[in-house]
């Protein structure tokens, strides 16, 4: 017959394994459990998304208010369509808000910066499924260098 000690150790071993797995999932990979449908979706078109990735954050004034959930190419317009999964707690962004692809630090990750637009009597708030019209594409370093060299060349 099995001794009690062996059974207890095996039980602890399995529990430790489960605990370590949960730590990896929630603490390291930071998987967020979405409570109900407290999120909404927005779309935006960009001519160039640069190094933007799925799960890149959407920030307003440095605060994360959502994440990129999908990046694909519009087959007709041939521009990138970015789907944003926005946190349901932040809903009051006017339709005139603008979205730009920014870089954190000089060589850091790229993220979406959402700049809230003006609010007056006629402005409408963005709701689920809307598209943000005012977008600024990613700054591509090679293009900048190209422009710089071109303008240098014209001076001579």
């Amino acid at each position: 017959m099995l001794s009690r000690k062996v059974e207890i150790w095996v039980g602890l071993f399995l529990l430790a394994g489960i605990a370590a797995f949960l730590v990896l999932v929630f603490k390291v990979a930071n998987v967020e459990v979405q409570a109900g449908n407290s999120s909404y979706t927005l779309y935006a078109r960009f001519t160039n998304v640069g190094g933007l990735k799925v799960r890149s954050p959407v920030k307003v004034g440095g605060v994360v208010v959502g994440r990129v959930s999908q990046i694909e190419l519009d087959p007709e317009r041939l521009v990138a369509v970015v789907t944003l999964n926005m946190d349901g707690r932040y809903r009051n962004f006017p339709e005139s808000s603008s979205l730009s692809i920014l870089t954190s630090g000089l060589l850091g990750e790229q993220f979406l910066g959402l700049t809230p637009g003006f609010v007056d009597d006629e402005s409408v708030m963005l709701k689920d499924g809307d598209r943000i019209a005012d977008t600024k594409s990613a700054l591509v370093l090679e293009d900048l260098i190209g422009q710089f060299l071109y303008s240098m060349g014209k001076k001579d």
Partner: protein, 260 residues
């Protein structure tokens, strides 16, 4: 004549290899296909989980801690030159999750548990305990091989996950506590770069594959041992050598499929 002899030797070696693989497959098949008997099988499995899993815990946890700490220390000295020491978190976490966790666990497991399994079964075989079991109408594949196989397959992913978690903690100790990287930056950059599907699920898949291969090799080497002391020592050695090589080769293959 010498030429024909050489060809014959080559042929014999090839037939031996293929026969060996076939016998290994048959052994595993015989052990796994048997109808499960929870009442009798569970205690055997728990006993083996203790021997294979719990008793490997110390070596896995200690190695994980030190490997995480060394990774962090080496990474820090390089990253600090570029002023990007906050990226230490992803460096430690990704290298542990993607490669070192599953691979080093499998190598340590082959040395700690695999060799023990081979020696134990080899000795049972040499002292004809397996034949005696068969004489008593107990299937040795079900009674001896199956619980050890399942114990290995269950233990190794758990050990790999523990190794990785402890390793990341070791990286935290060196990076945050000792070298003074900002606690918040360390964890937020780490969390931003580790992905559930890409990194954690692949870590588990890798270590499950390694578990099957290492345990299988260990059991087969013991089961097919030449029944004398020299045979057991040879079988134990070849368990460690073959499973280490198999793990490293498979790791390259799996990495190429997953991240290539």
């Amino acid at each position: 004549m010498a030429l024909i002899d050489a060809v014959a030797r080559l042929g014999r070696a090839a037939i031996g290899q293929v026969t060996g693989m076939g016998r290994a497959g048959l052994m595993l098949w015989g052990a796994l296909v048997a109808v499960p008997r929870p009442a009798k099988g569970m205690p055997l499995l728990i006993k083996q989980l203790y021997v294979v899993g719990v008793q490997s815990l110390i070596i896995i946890l200690v190695s994980g801690l030190f490997i995480g700490m060394v990774l962090a220390l080496q990474g820090y000295t390089i990253l600090v030159d570029f002023g990007t020491e906050e990226s230490l978190g992803p460096m430690v976490a990704l290298s542990l999750l993607r490669e070192l966790g599953p691979v080093v666990t499998a190598l340590l497991f082959a040395g700690r548990a695999g060799s023990a399994l081979t020696a134990e079964i080899g000795l049972m075989k040499s002292t004809e305990q397996l034949s005696s079991l068969e004489m008593m109408a107990v299937d040795p594949l079900r009674q001896i091989i199956a619980p050890r196989f399942w114990a290995g397959v269950i233990s190794m992913p758990i050990l790999a996950v523990l190794f990785t978690a402890v390793g990341i903690w070791g990286g935290h100790i060196v990076g945050v506590e000792w070298k003074g990287i900002d606690h918040g930056a360390f964890w937020s950059i780490l969390q931003a770069s580790v992905e559930w599907r890409q990194d954690i699920v692949n870590c588990l898949i890798k270590s499950l594959v390694f578990a099957i291969v290492v345990t299988w090799i260990a059991l087969y080497r013991g089961y097919e041992v030449v029944p004398n002391p020299e045979g057991i020592s040879k079988a134990t050695t070849s368990t460690v050598v073959q499973s280490s090589l198999a793990v490293l080769a498979l790791d390259f293959l799996l990495t190429a499929i997953m991240f290539g």
